[in-house]
Structure formats: C-alpha cells, structure tokens
Symmetry: C2
Subunit: 206 residues, 2 copies
C-alpha cells in the first residue's frame, strides 16, 4: 500500500494500454486500464482527467502521426492531397479509436496548428475567404468518413442471403479488399479536381 518505489502509472502507459484495449475490444474502461497496469482504479485519476482525459490522450497519440510537413509541398493541391493521405493513414493505424474521437471537439494544439497552416495554404493559393473553411471542412469530412469505413465491421452490410440483394452481393464481391482505399482515392481525386475549378483562372507561369 502507499507509494511504490517505482511508479506503476504514467500518462504514456495509460495511453498505450487504452489504445491496446480499444484495438482488442473496440472500447476501454478505466478499471481495465488499472488492472492491466497492476494498480487500483482510483489511482488512474491521479494521472489523467477521467475517462474523457484518456480519450484526449489517445487523440494526441494518434494525431502525432499526421505529417504536418505535407503542407509545405507545392503546389497547394498536391499538399492537400498529401495531408489528407497522411491524416487518413494516421487514423487507419487505429481504426477502432475513430468512433471515440468523433463526438468530442479537437483541443489538441498540435492538430489545431495544422489546420491553421492548411488555412494559410489555401488563402495563399487564392481561395476566397468564405470558401477556405468550406474546403477544409469538406476535406475533413472526406477523411473521417473514409476512416470510419475502416473502423466498420468487416462487412458494413450484413446481407441476410444473396437472393434478396443479388446485385449488391455481386458488386460487393467485385471490390473485395482495398475497397476502402479505392473509395478514398476516388473521393479525394474528385474533390481536388473540383477545388481547382473554384480558383480564379491561374496566370501563365513566368
């Protein structure tokens, strides 16, 4: 009892354990974290701001893998594409965490800083002020929607039998694995192609 020689708990270990639990079960609980680390449930609260705090820590860990350097790529559309792919890849590495992150607002300064850079990039590219945020939100929806697809159970559609929905069954078997990737690529290409048309006609390169 009392204080151990070497601390059992710290934020790093709590985060890692939570991510493991979510990967295994699709969810986590504070007592589960404590048990895995050999501590009492209450002890976790000395390191972390409750269950919600653990979710925030997981978000930071996952988002650390997003490569902000992609936003320095030129031209702007290649930068946005690279950012979107890096963003999605970071989430894809922890698919089952995604639903946990969807309902709480983004507070992590590192993530906000990347959005700030994205805004500057688009303004610099010549997008009108009201369009800038629309483009970013649409891109974010695209990334999260596709990432959610990865978190979905093996088959997002549970076909009762192939006879009631034969065409759907056939179409599904034709895509197979990589369906999520194909859909993301299609949507991203479509989106950036259309965004280019939003820009005032570019002057000829000098």
């Amino acid at each position: 009892m009392g204080r151990p020689r070497t601390p059992l708990l710290d934020r790093e270990r709590i985060t890692t354990t939570a991510l493991q639990l979510v990967a295994e079960q699709g969810d986590f609980s504070v007592p589960q974290i404590a048990r895995r680390l050999g501590a009492q449930t209450g002890s976790v609260y000395h390191h972390v701001d409750g269950r919600g705090g653990v979710v925030e820590l997981m978000r930071e860990r996952v988002c650390d893998a997003i490569d902000g350097g992609t936003l320095d790529v030129e031209p702007w559309d290649r930068a946005m594409a690279a950012w979107a792919r890096s963003y999605r890849a970071a989430f894809a590495a922890h698919p089952r965490v995604i639903p946990l992150l969807m309902t709480t607002p983004v507070r992590a300064p590192k993530v906000l800083a990347q959005y700030e850079r994205a805004v500057r990039l688009l303004r610099g590219a010549g997008f009108a002020n009201p369009d800038v945020m629309t483009v970013i939100i649409a891109l974010e929806n695209l990334v999260l929607g596709s990432a959610l697809d990865l978190a979905a159970p093996e088959t997002m559609w549970e076909l009762p039998d192939d006879t009631s929905t034969p065409e759907l069954a056939r179409a599904l078997s034709a895509v197979g694995a990589g369906r999520a990737e194909a859909a993301f690529d299609l949507a991203l290409t479509a989106f950036l192609t259309h965004c280019r048309t939003l820009l005032p006609k570019a002057p000829a390169p000098d």
Copy 2:
C-alpha cells in the same frame, strides 16, 4: 404487479423514447427508457433484444425517412444526388444518433434494398462492375462524414484563443452557420462531376 390492463411498453414507444434521450443527452440507457415509460428495467427486455436491439430500432426509424423513390429519377447522376441529399437529411434530423449507428453493420432490409437499387442504377448507367461498389462506398462515406459533422459539438474546433490560430479563427467566422451544408454541397458536386468522367463516352441522344 404482474400484467397491466393496458401494455406499458412496445417497440414503438421504446424507440421514440430512446431517440428523445439521445437527442437530449447524446446517449441513452435501458433503465432510462424504462423509467420514462413507468416500467421496470427488466421489462424492456421482453420487447427488445437488449441495448443493441434498441440501436437497431433507432436505425430503422431514422432510415425510414430516406426516400428510395429518388433512385427512379433520371438521369442517374441526378438520382444519386437526390438520394444522397435525402439520405443526409434523414440523418440530419437525428444528428446525435449517428455516432451510435456507425459501429454496427447495416441489417435493416429496407436500407439494404435501397443499396440494391443504387447498384442497379449505376450498372444501368454503364459503370464497370468493379467501379460500382467503389462509387457507392465513396458516396456513403461522403454522406456519413457530412452527417457526423452535424452531430459534432457546436464548435468542432475548440480554439484556446484567437492569437495562436488567427487565420483559422478568421476562416471559421467567415463560414458561420450553414458551414456543414456548404461543405456537403461542395463535396457532392465534386464527386458526381468526377463520376461522370468515369463513364465511357456517352452516345449522342437519339
């Protein structure tokens, strides 16, 4: 005790109450449903397959508002646009339910039937077999991603102060309300425009 003259519980009332709770709190529990309907917690289990069953009932209720008739519109791209808008509107009417529906597969026959029709529509329009499902999945991601945006808290980005992310703050204030709608419209337009280019060159109308 025992059986009341007039039943306290049925699937309709359970579903309605669950939707109300989710609208108010963003979540629900079986005991909460029971309390609101003046029954014991255990009684709910006589009508519904546990908590997961209640989620399925909510999905069916929400999806009933999707207008499958939109898939009869011509040409195919107007049909897909109308379907996507109806789909999103149905979810938008119950924004906070969306996160609850994301992690469980679609089983509702009515929803599956609409996907079946969508597949037929795209095949009829001339899309190659491997492309059909990719297009549908991408459209679904788009709808769900945008719908999730509606479920998000007022401010998806919690800016600590306007000084650390000044451009983001400015861009955010420039979109204001309707930001979700604008982003959805942009993404949908972009997507369908690009899908048209996937099709073999159309023959001249006769």
